[in-house]
């Protein structure tokens, strides 16, 4: 089943009865060529690109709940490629290019909306840092514009430009950044993978890894043992727990990140705006709610819910940037478990166990990376080699000192 103007018209006049489920409820087979653990955006994108680009379709995606029930459905849906370091920019720009063609590629409306991502700066030093980042982006062929205070004011006149402590001096704008609909990304990849023969197996939690003579042989699940010579882990906040089944200790600590949404209002915030003097980012959903977030809760957590102290901090940042926020009611808040790596950058690499591959350490930047993460992880699973755009994301970079630390805060995962 594909979407087209004709299909929409046909269903409009036939009472919308022509639509069918977009993927099968697959039962686990005894053996697959590749098992991907984790039915989130990254796991499903991996399966999709494995089948589509690498011709590997005897693949199972194992998901302990329902697909997209973890971080894929808990993020703030921002896409951007405004990074500074050379290990990161080509990867995130690959992801941005994939976002730009994604809906045509998988024939699904993911509501990719390039309304721009604006980072505000509040001091001369911060302007200099943004100039440097913008130049690094442009050297890599990524769009970046430095905006003056007046240019920012024309875009967003409701910001607190004359805040006594953090006056807004200007901003760094990536016009190609924006948002996408996170659930539709999951569904689009799931549908595309399923159509190419991938089995998406929900309610199937991995309980153990079968390793024979240093080579992975399969996984033990709540739905029985499933064999495979190649197993990829794409389980975000639970990466340490799954890796521990193979006796591995990862450079990752898990923390909860909260997000919030207000009641729906008329169109106000066009694009994404981030506060430069604290950690706060905001956008407006198509339903009209303002979606925003900020810092992690400070302590390691697997609880998927956050504390009031962090919410207070986020709200204070929001009020300092955009005082009119105080007139709105918060409708909902939620938390997701972030796999915070020791340098704030991800890991897409082999592990010491043959046939076992790792995709983890996304911190709170996993959503925007979904297409490139899937493509590069599929490349690794299919060929055994690192993808050229993800060469820097090696597991051994910590021991060798070649970390990719955008924020420059060292091995303190809750500060990245």
């Amino acid at each position: 089943m594909t979407f087209s103007a004709f299909a929409l018209l046909k269903n409009a006049i036939s009472g919308q009865t022509g639509w069918r489920p977009h993927w099968r409820k697959a039962e686990p087979k005894p053996h697959y060529d590749v098992i991907v653990i984790g039915g989130g955006g990254h796991g499903l994108a991996t399966a999709y690109y494995l089948a589509k680009h690498y011709g590997v379709s005897n693949v199972a995606v194992l998901e302990k709940g329902w697909i997209g029930s973890g971080n894929a459905g808990r993020n703030t849906t921002i896409i951007r490629s405004n990074y500074l370091l050379s290990g990161n920019i080509p990867f995130y720009e690959l992801s941005m290019k994939l976002w730009e063609g994604l809906e045509q590629d998988f024939n699904f409306n993911a509501m990719v909306s390039q309304r721009g991502v604006l980072n505000l700066y509040h001091s001369d030093a911060q302007r200099d840092a943004y100039v440097r980042r913008g130049n690094a982006m442009r050297l890599h062929g990524v769009d970046a514009e430095l905006l003056s205070r007046d240019e920012v004011r024309r875009m967003a006149p409701y910001l607190d430009f004359d805040n006594a402590r953090f006056p807004i001096q200007g901003g760094l704008l990536q016009r190609r950044g924006g948002t996408a609909r996170h659930d539709a990304v999951v569904w689009g990849y799931a549908r595309g993978a399923d159509a190419r023969g991938v089995d998406i197996i929900e309610n199937c939690e991995v309980l153990g890894l079968r390793i024979e003579g240093g080579q992975v042989a399969g996984v033990e699940t709540t739905r029985g043992v499933i064999g495979a010579k190649k197993v990829g882990m794409a389980v975000a906040g639970n990466a340490s727990r799954v890796a521990a089944m193979a006796g591995l200790t990862l450079p990752i600590e898990s923390y909860v990140l909260q997000a919030f949404v207000t009641e729906g209002i008329k169109p106000l915030v066009d694009g994404v705006i981030t506060f430069g003097a604290g950690h706060f980012y905001i956008s407006q959903s198509d339903k009209g709610g303002l979606v925003f977030g900020g810092d992690l809760d400070p302590f390691p957590s697997y609880a998927q819910r956050g504390s009031l102290a962090t919410f207070t901090d986020v709200a204070e940042c929001g009020m300092a940037m955009m005082p009119m926020l105080g007139r709105l009611k918060i409708l909902r808040s939620w938390g997701g478990i972030m796999d915070m790596s020791m340098d704030g950058s991800p890991i897409i690499d082999r592990t010491p166990v043959d046939g076992l591959f790792l995709n983890a350490g996304w911190c709170y930047g996993g959503f925007k990376a979904t297409p490139a993460s899937g493509l590069t992880f599929a490349h690794l699973l299919a060929t055994g080699d690192l993808h050229p755009a993800a060469m820097a994301y090696r597991l051994d970079r910590f021991a060798s000192g070649t970390v990719i630390d955008e924020k420059g805060v060292g091995a303190t995962p809750n500060l990245h």
Partner: protein, 92 residues
């Protein structure tokens, strides 16, 4: 969230800074610091984390209180604080 500091009593979360897992520096003699085993041990000490879903011992700093480093034992599945001790009492 309240943390019962052994010196200050029950105090709010915002008074504290969390460092993460409470680890012990590898016991390596100065003359062995450049040995491959010591390099591996220090890399693991700096970067690797057990990151359990369950009971976890952490270093917390009571910066807006007594300015003492604490060992907080918590359950990462439900945020329950099980024990708080001065780090000096935990060290031999």
């Amino acid at each position: 969230m309240r943390i019962t500091c052994p010196h200050c009593g029950p105090r709010d979360l915002i008074e504290f800074t969390v460092l993460g897992e409470a680890r012990t520096r590898p016991a390596v003699a100065v003359e062995d610091l450049d040995s491959p085993a010591a390099v591996d041990a220090f890399a693991a000490y700096v970067y690797d984390r057990a990151n359990p879903a369950g009971i976890h011992r952490e270093h917390w700093f009571h910066g807006f209180g007594c300015q003492t480093w604490l060992v907080v034992t918590r359950d990462t599945l439900n945020h329950a604080v099980l024990a708080v001790a001065d780090v000096r009492e935990e060290r031999p």
